[in-house]
């Protein structure tokens, strides 16, 4: 039987403010337990929350970047439940009036298997709301007791809820990646998944194509794209097997165990809390003026999708190249910077050359050395110098790769490496003509064969000439000169 997979995501993006959402305590990661827990974080009797405007500003940025409606008035609500790492006994969140309304994100989907082609899809975002994070329960090292670390309690989060628009694990991963790129791109979240700055909950259900939505199960707290895909694959198969074996999927919250590759039940719907949401009387409604929105809009960079379109339409790059180059703002900046230097300092307008080198050599080396683009040992302007020599024919492509490797490992500039390693191409027409003349003189019989119609011999002459020039002859010039002289 055919099944359609239906997936929606809830993503918690930790907002990159220095202090917490409702107090002045630091949000820095990795401090000694409870050293960043002030009176408000500890929920001492009598303390009150005060909203951090920086968190609101980031939420507005996100709303603008996804074309969403920014609510002129939204409301903070209390979500009540007991847990040791939830110090107030409630989480301050937003419920029926979130700060960001419906928006959308365009994603590039790379199908994971088969010969299907990449395609574009628009995923609708239902809402995004501000809330505070809880602390952490530490179960090791306490002799059977549980330790509580409230450093993270009160860290600002933006919970981004999508519509159930995704139809495969590939689409879900593409959406999560696009969101991950976007939040870092607009500078509202560091995206560090290991540290929990970007956490995904995935709602999965299956149905007969076009039928009513099936019962969903929510996979909680996925912190890598790889695990997300594995978890969805496993969960989808589990649901299909369950139904095909005559069972029913019950609504539940589940966890993915990366070691076993399986999902397991955390709590069923029956155990679901009644959170008793109500507006937090300690906080006024959040009013956002049109002026504030305009001010935030003015700080937004060109968005990844816009940039991507511009790369394709104005620079003539392929959709694939454009999407790789816009995978992060730093990557796009590196590309733009290389391209600009090449253009302004060498008068060479060649985006395609830059794209090829960055996606090819640069990305491969970064990958090999486990670096990200901000750690690239070759600065963009240095790369542009090298590319200028390539474009002008001063060195061959293979020579350029050698120079690149040297620049990568030892530093330095392309010019001195080319000189030092004597990698310069022979582009002196006189020198190439001399070589060609000598070859023609020494191979009169082959020249005669060629002239009588044996065109295939052309490669033979190129080979001889290259050998004579020790591989340094500019191939284009050599071709031209050879053709001319052989024609007689």
């Amino acid at each position: 039987m055919q099944w359609e997979i239906v997936i929606g995501l809830e993503v918690h993006a930790q907002l990159s403010t220095n202090s917490k959402i409702f107090c002045g305590a630091s949000t820095a990661f990795g401090a000694e337990p409870n050293t960043q827990a002030d009176a408000v974080s500890l929920a001492l009797p009598g303390v009150l929350p005060v909203l951090n405007k920086g968190a609101v500003e980031r939420a507005i940025k996100f709303g603008l970047a996804t074309g969403a409606h920014i609510a002129p008035r939204s409301v903070f609500a209390r979500k009540n439940y007991f847990y040791p790492d939830l110090p107030k006994g409630y989480q301050i969140s937003q419920f029926d009036l979130p700060v960001v309304g419906q928006g959308a994100l365009t994603i590039q989907v790379e199908p994971l298997s088969g010969n299907a082609k990449p395609y574009e899809k628009v995923v609708r975002i239902t809402r995004a709301h501000l809330e505070e994070d809880a602390g952490k329960s530490l179960h090791a090292d306490f002799h059977g007791m549980t330790g509580i670390d409230l450093n993270r309690a009160g860290t600002p989060l933006l919970e981004i809820v999508s519509e159930p628009d995704m139809r495969s694990a590939a689409e879900a991963v593409a959406y999560a990646k696009a969101l991950h790129t976007l939040v870092r791109w607009i500078g509202i979240c560091d995206g560090n998944m290991q540290e929990g700055s970007f956490r995904c909950d995935v709602n999965v259900s299956v149905r007969k194509p076009g039928g009513e939505l099936g019962t969903r199960r929510e996979i909680k707290n996925l912190n890598s794209f790889k695990f997300m895909q594995q978890a969805i694959d496993y969960e989808v198969q589990w649901q299909i097997d369950t139904i095909e074996n005559g069972g029913k999927v019950q609504q539940a919250t589940i966890l993915f165990d990366p070691d076993s590759g399986e999902t397991r039940m955390m709590r069923s719907k029956e155990d679901a809390h009644d959170y008793r949401y109500f507006p937090d009387p300690d906080l006024l409604p959040l009013d956002i003026s049109a002026q504030w929105i305009d001010e935030v809009r003015a700080t937004l960079p060109e968005l990844p999708h816009d940039k991507q379109s511009r790369y394709v339409n104005d620079l003539g790059l392929s959709a694939y190249d454009a999407s790789v180059l816009t995978s992060s703002r730093e990557m796009a900046d590196f590309f733009d910077s290389t391209r600009m230097h090449l253009d302004t300092e060498n008068d060479i307008d060649n985006p395609k050359l830059c794209a090829n080198w960055i996606i090819g050599e640069v990305a491969a080396q970064l990958n090999r050395d486990e670096l990200d683009i901000t750690q690239c040992p070759i600065k963009a302007y240095r790369l542009s110098e090298l590319l200028a020599y390539v474009a002008k024919g001063r060195i061959s492509n293979s020579g350029a790769k050698e120079v690149f490797r040297t620049m990568w490992t030892e530093g330095g500039d392309a010019d001195s490496i080319i000189v030092k390693k004597a990698l310069e191409q022979i582009s002196d027409i006189g020198a190439i003509e001399k070589i060609v003349d000598e070859i023609i003189a020494a191979n009169a019989d082959k020249v005669a064969e060629y002239r009588s119609g044996k065109d295939k011999l052309f490669g033979f002459f190129v080979g001889l000439a290259m050998k004579a020039s020790k591989g340094k002859a500019n191939p284009a010039q050599l071709n031209d000169i050879l053709k001319q002289k052989l024609a007689g």
Binding site: A39, L42, A43, L44, P45, G46, V47, L48, P49, V50, L51, R78, N80, F82, P84, P87, K88, G89, Y90, T146, I148, D274, R276, Y277, F278, P281, D282, L283, L284
Partner: protein
């Protein structure tokens, strides 16, 4: 000395007729003598009080004293005060020494006032008789068999018995005004947002407001000058220019329009209370005021609305008392859920648990719209009644409480009867308006009667003027109980 006004005490201190240390010691001695019979204080800390007094004396000597410098003021035990046990009248906080000062406390500290001690109160301010305190019932100094009212019962008893020069209270549904009325003192609940709630242990956040309790309107004005003020740590604190609440005390009352809501003089009001309040109104007419009949038709709904909204907020506000980080934790428990259950069952008293249950219920899925949302709608109607009324009058007057102080234990087993004793005060909190109570005579049992004065938003200075002019013409506020 114990009958002096705050202004007189301040003058005496600044004139070096008495030192703050001497004055503080006088009060500590008086407390030692009479508090055991009244149980008005939960915590005394003479060392800390006297240390503050010495600092105040230095400030007085340096000539940089404020109006309240060196004056001993008692603090309701709902305010967190650094280094002081802060219990909120509950076993749950029996061991909680606050590491920080509430805004109100720091305002007093900055003024150089002396924290004389922490006064008894109904547990988490839930009660109208001060019988729900974990630290025992407070006695009314006019008759120790009777309650002082609540929840600021310890403060009211201490002020009436002259066990402090003045004190603070908080008022969520009448907790300043009702005990002030029952103990024959003056008390003012300011407009919601005038005093910061930071460091004031929350009962019902949208209703809680701190205010002064003292022996006269004049004293209240000085106290409010110190307590009021914007505080960025409380998002509901109001950003307004600093005002002198004593500025209008001496204005004549000619032309003052007093609104008398017919609902405040209907069934349920004790005849002795009615007589005293009517006599007070007659006095106001002599002072040049005119009387306007008004109606507040929705106030009859204020008790049911209050007992939905206040417990709803309380059920959430009190969730932090879970035995995890501070306060009471049950000695024996089997797992996490049991730790919560045992700690909260043992740490909270019956009235607090009742309100947590009510609040949890009205916020529950399926009941929220019928209770909480409905109550919010009626709350707006109640506030609207006052907006209408103030088109026709300047202040509203009536009884503070339907009866004088009742006997200890008299209403203990009937919570609804107890709730009804706040029938005239609750609407004021729901509307966020300022309200006060001043003594205006005695009832059939020789217990004090309070006159309630309700003002329009931010009209505290006018209310204090209205109260002060009455106190110039009468001496009810100067009557003191025999201890």
């Amino acid at each position: 000395m114990f009958e002096s006004s705050l202004k007189q005490l301040g003058d005496a201190l600044r004139a070096k007729k008495i030192s703050s240390v001497e004055l503080t010691q006088l009060y500590l001695d008086r407390i030692a003598a009479h508090n055991p019979a009244l149980n008005a204080y939960i915590t005394l800390n003479p060392e800390m009080s006297l240390a503050q007094a010495r600092a105040a004396d230095a400030r007085l000597a340096a000539g940089s004293a404020d109006a309240l410098t060196g004056i001993p003021v008692a603090q309701k035990d709902i305010f967190c005060a650094k280094g002081w046990l802060t219990t909120c009248g509950s076993k749950m906080l029996h061991n909680f020494v606050s590491p920080y000062d509430a805004h109100v406390i720091s305002q007093f500290n900055n003024a150089g006032a002396i924290n004389l001690g922490k006064t008894n109160m109904d547990e988490f301010a839930m009660g109208s008789s001060n019988e729900t305190s974990y630290y025992g019932a407070v006695k009314n100094p006019w008759d120790k068999a009777r309650v002082p009212g609540g929840s600021s019962g310890g403060t009211a008893s201490a002020v009436a018995a002259r066990l402090c020069a003045a004190a603070t209270g908080t008022d969520t549904g009448g907790s300043i005004r009702q005990p002030a009325a029952l103990c024959g003192i003056s008390g003012l609940k300011p407009t919601y947002g005038v005093c910061s709630r930071y460091g004031m242990i929350a009962f019902a956040s949208s209703l809680d407001q701190a205010g002064p309790m003292g022996r006269s309107a004049e004293d209240l004005a000085l106290l409010l000058n110190t307590m009021a003020g914007f505080d960025e740590r409380d998002s509901t604190s109001l950003q307004r220019d600093k005002e002198d609440y004593a500025r209008d005390l001496n204005k004549p009352l000619n032309g003052l329009r007093i609104g008398l809501p017919k609902e405040f003089f209907a069934e349920g009001l004790g005849s002795d209370v009615a007589r005293a309040v009517e006599a007070a109104i007659a006095e106001y007419k002599k002072l040049g005021a005119t009387v306007v009949d008004i109606s507040l038709p929705n106030t009859r709904l204020s008790i049911p609305v209050y007992y939905v909204l206040a417990p709803a907020e309380a059920s959430s506000n009190l969730s932090r008392f879970d035995g995890v980080r501070y306060g009471y934790r049950a000695p024996d428990y089997s797992d996490l859920a049991d730790m919560y259950e045992q700690s909260r069952s043992q740490g909270f008293g019956a009235e607090v648990k009742r309100r947590i249950m009510i609040g949890t219920y009205v916020l529950s899925h399926g009941y929220y719209d019928a209770y909480y949302i409905q109550a919010q709608k009626i709350r707006r109607l109640i506030a609207q009644d006052f907006v209408e009324a103030y088109k026709h009058c300047d202040v509203i007057m009536g009884p503070t409480s339907p009866s004088t102080a009742f006997k200890l234990g008299e209403k203990g087993d009937d919570p609804v009867q107890m709730y009804l004793s706040d029938i005239y005060t609750i609407a004021v909190n729901l509307a966020g308006l300022p309200g006060m109570s001043i003594p205006c005579g005695f009832g059939d049992n020789d217990m004090p009667v309070g006159l309630q004065i309700i003002g329009n938003y931010f009209d505290e200075a006018r209310m204090l003027n209205v109260a002060h002019q009455y106190q110039l013409a009468t001496d009810w506020h100067n009557r003191a109980p025999q201890l």
